[in-house]
Symmetry: C2
Subunit: 127 residues, 2 copies
DNA sequence: CTGTCGATTAACCAAGTGGTTAATTGACGA
DNA sequence: TCGTCAATTAACCACTTGGTTAATCGACAG
């Protein structure tokens, strides 16, 4: 389990599992013990432990010992970086939406001419 | 390679690899052939092919055949969902920042009293 | 028809992932 | 001191992942 990945990869990788996302969602409500976190899932305690280790490794949670309980706390900062990375693509998904709308409109008035400005049709070099 | 995962998991999982993120970044500039996409990486063609398959499986790219070239096009829509999911946590990473600032300020004027409103210190039930 | 080029598929491999059960640790309460 | 409870570690398993090389496919140019 020696992970020398960049933090963005660690973050996305940690978020790629539904169980872990659900755990984070639960933690967004309030801190919780490992037992409380695992309770909703039909899964053994060690499995939950491993998920928590992954989340901790990505810096998405912190654990604090309280007697024989481990209190887990959400640390959302790494999500900020992921969010920022995605933000850079906003223009693209909005563009695609625009193009879809445009296409539907065009189709609707049965004006099937001109391919629209769309994505710059890649000019293929054919040697 | 039979994947029956939810699309959010597929998206995050696809984004968890630096090579794939770099490919997406390249595609944000313009469409490109598989060869063009692979050129920056010290990696065999089949390896690139596999990465592209993962991206396609997550709906993050589309491929279109042009003679013997495969033109890859960015499809950013799935990022929108991921972005939205993360957005729900914005409050938390901003809160954490606030708390950090607060902590630093407190420490600075050496006023170590009152624990601050912080995260609601989890009330442990000790039976 | 044949050679070549872009790309994919096939077969393989090492390492990682997500889960299990059994054993271990550490902090109580009786 | 002893039993119990929260949680983790150890050992194991099946499957996936990220990479490799070798072989294949399809579209062209001579």
């Amino acid at each position: 389990m020696a992970n020398t990945q960049d933090s963005l990869s660690l973050t996305f990788s940690a978020l790629a599992d539904p169980t872990r996302r659900a755990i984070l969602t639960r933690l967004a409500r309030s801190d919780a013990t490992v037992g409380e976190l695992g309770e909703p899932f039909d899964m053994s305690a060690p499995a939950i432990s491993k998920h928590l280790r992954v989340l901790e490794g990505a810096g998405l949670i912190a654990r604090e010992v309280d007697a024989r309980w481990r209190i887990c706390r959400l640390r959302a900062e790494p999500m900020h970086d992921a969010h920022d990375w995605l933000e850079a693509y906003r223009r693209h998904w909005e563009d695609n939406l625009d193009r879809l709308v445009e296409f539907v409109e065009q189709t609707h008035r049965a004006d099937a001419k001109k391919p629209g400005k769309g994505a710059p049709r890649v000019p293929r070099k054919k040697p």
